[in-house]
Amino acid sequence: MEEPSATEPQESHRDDDAVIVTRALTKRYRGGQLAVDGLDLTVPAGSVFGFLGPNGSGKTTTIRMLMGLIEPTSGTARVLGRPMPRATRAVLPQVGALIEGPALYGFLSGRDNLVRYDSADPTADPRTRRARVAAALDRVGLTAAAGKKARAYSLGMKQRLGLAAALLQPRRLLVLDEPTNGLDPQGMREIRSLVRELASDGTTVFLSSHLLDEIEQVCTHAAVMAQGRLITQGAVAELAAGTRGRLVVTTPDTADAARVLKEQGVADMVVTEDRVTGEVPEGDRELADLNAALVGAGVRVRGFGVERASLEDAFMALTGEGFDVAG
């Protein structure tokens, strides 16, 4: 590892570190629908990895392949360095997962649901089960409701119980598919701080979401999927930096402002009620000159500035479409 191979030094180093590596991973469902198309994903160890994409973009299919629930049509997936789905027995005890929302036995109490899932794991020690179940319940704030039948749980409580099941053992990797679904803002905040806490213990967290700000708030790395393809992946800071910010002018004279800005070479202009936004012109053009030109043309400028690029802008720039468009 100290002496990476000469041909692809960076690539091999990243793969050694990586917790999840897929190469040309493809899933075509029986109907012929291509759900995941040649996915090359690399999730570095210790990262909080945001897996982003609109509903129907192939995130959950990818996760199901990573967890050995479905067989890839072609390509390979390695989790914790072992091939999936072949090494499920060795890999999965070290992985906690929340996939497509929680699934519970409604006629069992919350506690008994966890006992049931824990006894399905052959590596889980039955002698420490009670203590581990209690600790997991405590961690997600469900101790008070542990004796209640799961069918009486609210969606948010079910989500928490699903998370507790993923935390029954110390894990090297947590795969959380839309973990804040159905939670109120307070619950979302708690889950985010839980994710940060787990990550600081060294657990790699693979978090899928269709909520951009959620990814932006907790993730160190992200990948963006749309229509079964990987559009980009990398550190969150780099992804956002890859997109230029947008120029925003607030003025009552929008028509004049748009005309002047166009003359100054600002492209992709969008005019709303009292705002004109556009791409920041390339090159080292001084923005103050643009402002001077506007003022010189008699435009009443009330606000002038560049909005920081967000992941959403990055996504729009990459896909050329709005985020809520389903694949």
């Binding site: 050995g68 005890p93 006894s119």
Partner: protein, 313 residues
């Protein structure tokens, strides 16, 4: 209902002797408490608890327990005036002898439930085993735990077989209790006309219950296989029960006699041969062989299907 509940742990106690699903036993197996804890901790223990804590399971057992009570009561009312039940009137095997000896209610109860009620209950439990978990979504969490597909399937089959035994014993115990309550008990006459003591009769009754439970092995395997084909618990249960009824009807059509020896229900009523003196083993052995064949064929099919299946959402 209370009888159903008390007999459930009885079945699980018996299974404890077979540690086929105990990958992690504790180091001190001689201590009963820890052994019980370990048993509960296994996937099989958890599976049994989960199955027998469902209202549906308890309701099925309650229905099964009610059948011999109803038969016994009907016979009691019929023979209340001192006459014996009309032997020419038909009805399940041994029904004419119940009023003389309550033990015969066990045989009648089993003969009355074996063609439909018992296999229907097995069909529900077996059909729901995989498909029910799949439609509830719990299957994917069991598999990422990871339960292991082969291990989970074996556990499901072992649980279904345990239910076969428990269900049969529920019928037998309910019948014995009702028989003792409603009718006199004593020495009994076999089909061959010889007399055997009450104790030996009890032994035969237990043996018959075990044979009846074993007769359900085929349906259990068939139901489990169907359960791996779909992700709807209801569909799997309905298909299994529908298939059961179809087979029973086909078994009555004389033109199909060449096929009938391969129907899982064909030799079911051979258990009555245990009441002959000496016991007539021919069809009993054929029945058990056929059940083993069904278990092998549909067990392998279920395994082949389940271990390669994409687990749907």
């Amino acid at each position: 209902m209370s009888r159903a509940e008390t007999s459930a742990p009885k079945g699980s106690e018996e299974r404890r002797e077979e540690p086929r699903e105990q990958p992690h036993r504790t180091e001190q197996p001689h201590r009963t408490v820890s052994r019980r804890a370990t048993f509960r901790g296994t996937l099989f223990g958890s599976e049994l608890l989960t199955t027998f804590r469902r209202w549906r399971t308890l309701a099925l057992l309650a229905v099964l327990a009610a059948v011999p009570i109803l038969v016994g009561t009907a016979v009691k009312i019929e023979t209340g005036d001192g006459s014996s039940a009309d032997p020419a009137g038909g009805g399940p095997a041994f029904i004419s002898q119940i009023s003389n000896n309550g033990l015969f209610l066990v045989f009648t109860g089993l003969a009355a439930t074996l063609p439909f009620f018992l296999p229907m209950a097995i069909g529900v439990i077996a059909g729901d085993a995989i498909a029910g978990e799949s439609s509830a979504g719990t299957l994917r969490y069991l598999l990422v735990a990871p339960a292991g597909r082969t291990r989970l399937l074996l556990t499901k089959y072992a649980t279904t077989l345990t239910f076969c035994l428990v269900a049969t014993l529920v019928v037998a115990i309910s019948a014995l209790t009702a028989g003792a309550f409603l009718f006199p008990l004593g020495d009994l006459t076999t089909i061959s006309g010889t007399k055997i003591s009450f104790t030996e009769g009890l032994g035969r009754a237990l043996l018959i219950a075990l044979v009846v439970a074993a007769s359900l092995i085929g349906v259990a395997a068939l139901g489990l296989f169907i359960s791996t084909l779909t992700s709807s618990g209801i569909a799997a249960m309905a298909t299994t029960v529908g298939l059961l009824i179809t087979i029973q009807i086909l078994d009555q059509i004389p033109q199909l006699h060449a096929l009938q020896p391969y129907f899982f229900s064909h030799y079911w009523l051979s258990f009555a041969d245990l009441m002959r003196e000496p016991v007539y083993w021919d069809e009993l052995v054929k029945n058990l062989g056929l059940q083993a064949l069904y278990a092998a064929v549909f067990g392998s099919a279920a395994w082949a299907r389940f271990t390669t299946k994409d687990i749907p959402a």
